[in-house]
Symmetry: C2
Subunit: 342 residues, 2 copies
């Protein structure tokens, strides 16, 4: 049997409560006693039992991280391990543990979240996605359980703490970049409009077009979820228009890779014929060919801030909801090119 607080107490010649206070570094215990107890702990190789502790203090030093349902291939996105890294780094520092949930369906996800919440497994939750009418978010919100979302919540925006980039500005800027390069026919490829981030990026794109007095054509907006077979068709259609685009704003680096691939198959060159700008700056976008012009949303930092915000909320239940906007940086690389420089 593992060594318990009582064993330590006995060995140090004090009461269990004293040991407990030593662990908590309570002021009222004399330095001498503390030393003695600490030595006993070391000697015995004592480690407190979290379950007992959590039961007593009604808390857990753990937070839950909810990934999008793994049915959409989205989970394969390097975005997730990276943001996990960000969250994990500060979690480790603060001695928190991470629970992750990877339900395959929305239903499963929801169940897992309920397990986390009701089962008292976690003190708070980070949502790594934001989609419209999300039951999980509604549930957490209604239960008033501490949570923060990475991305903009689909509703109750100012009552929910979230960390995000200014996606519409970033999108506007990167679209503007294409415009500056002389492109007049710029299309947008994004994921499901269920996802808030898609909507924001689309909006930024549109507003840039508008500001530049370029037409905002419906047929230039394609929505395809992560390159499944349908995506192929959509792209083909885009390029068989009477006036095919010369520039593409794509909401995700990974999609860009797929699109570039298709384009080359169709006989277009990037950036020779088509310029492509996208989002996220995953590690890949640098080593691919051509390297992608993309907005670096600082995934790691998103994670770091999300965690910090969550801890604040956990510590003080009535912490006001806040919004953290992590700055982005556009990485200009070789997938974009002047229209005339062909």
């Amino acid at each position: 049997m593992r060594v318990t607080i009582k064993d330590v107490a006995k060995k140090a010649g004090v009461a269990p409560s004293t040991v407990s206070r030593v662990i908590a570094d309570n002021q009222r215990i004399s330095l001498e006693t503390k030393k003695r107890v600490r030595k006993a702990m070391k000697d015995l190789g004592y480690h407190p039992n979290v379950n007992a502790r959590n039961l007593a203090i009604r808390s857990t030093q753990a937070i839950g991280v909810v990934m999008p349902s793994s049915t959409d291939k989205a989970l394969q996105n390097p975005f997730f391990p990276e943001i996990l890294g960000g969250i994990g780094s500060v979690a480790h520092e603060m001695e928190y543990s991470l629970y992750v949930s990877t339900g395959s369906t929305e239903e499963e996800q929801f169940e897992e979240v309920k397990r986390m919440v009701f089962g008292n497994r976690v003190d708070g939750i980070i949502l790594l996605y934001s989609r419209a009418n999300d039951v999980v978010m509604d549930f957490l919100f209604e239960k008033n359980f501490p949570f923060v979302v990475v991305g903009k919540p689909y509703s109750e925006e100012n009552q929910i703490t979230y960390v995000d980039n200014d996606n519409v500005k970033a999108s506007r800027e990167i679209t503007q970049h294409l415009i500056d390069l002389g492109h007049q026919y710029i299309a947008f490829i994004g994921g499901s409009t269920e996802r808030v981030v898609t909507v924001d990026r689309l909006q930024g794109y549109e507003s840039a077009l508008e500001a530049a007095d370029l037409p905002n054509r419906e047929e230039y907006k394609v929505q395809t979820e992560f390159l499944e077979s349908g995506g192929h068709k959509a792209v083909e259609k885009l390029f068989s228009l009477d006036q095919p685009p010369t520039g593409l704003v794509i909401a995700d680096d990974l999609v860009s890779l797929g699109v570039i691939n298709m384009l080359e198959e169709l006989g277009f060159r990037v950036p020779g014929d088509i310029s492509i700008a996208s989002f996220n700056n995953v590690y890949l976008s640098e080593i691919t060919r051509p390297p992608l012009t993309t907005v670096d949303i600082q995934i790691y930092l998103l994670g770091v801030h999300a965690f910090k915000c969550l801890i604040e909320k956990v510590k003080k239940k009535d912490e006001p909801s806040k919004r953290i906007i992590v700055p982005y940086k556009i990485k200009y690389r070789q997938s974009t090119k002047e229209i005339d420089g062909k």
Copy 2:
């Protein structure tokens, strides 16, 4: 305050112990009582407190998943979310939760694992990597704590349960494929030789060369960790040899992408001038250009089996150690080509 087992007991007019037994679906409780209690639970919205439960039964319905230290960019590999998906799917099914550890350094990782083990946070651990002289593995082994590793352990191979592919065979086969295509100058690019998987794949490569009576040249083996700047040099050097290779076996799809990029920069075409075959078959390898010939190691399945093995070990402490070899399938795509077909 949350509703406890006592509340349910009171409402149902029974003792807490009875409620507990109803939860466990104990035989000795009459169906009628069960119904009554279940109704009370429903009505009150009762959810058992895991901490209390775990404390009492000295177990947790959770397992830990240890990722490689995030300092190496390895964490960005889609391999991880995908295997997490596999693990998570069956974990969910069996009502287990997942703890992940993402330490940035080996030291941090070790600390987290100790927290998991000593703190009684998890029933078992899955190691998502296998490297030489790993303190974490040694620790778990020595403590006789239930764990399984994904990949082949660096030592004590037949006392540790692990799930892996037959990497040497796969590597031999895919190298043979290159040979069949007429390649005689085939190089190998792998990650750190600290990682067991690299060693296996290297071995398979060598054995294929040997079997075909091709020379096994030292200068054809480059070891570069995930494409950092040094990798660039290594590849350049490889192609400035008197006899540069025409075929490449690369231990990871992501590295392949980087290498293809470099090669094109250097003026080589894939597969025109150089054929490339690699490993893992991450989603990307299909949508990239050219699509990669790669061995599909069935990442998701690796995860599924790892979890199942772990649970067996958890349930029966003396479960014999086993080895699960998940079959691979080679995906022949366009990154490899006959040497003469140029």
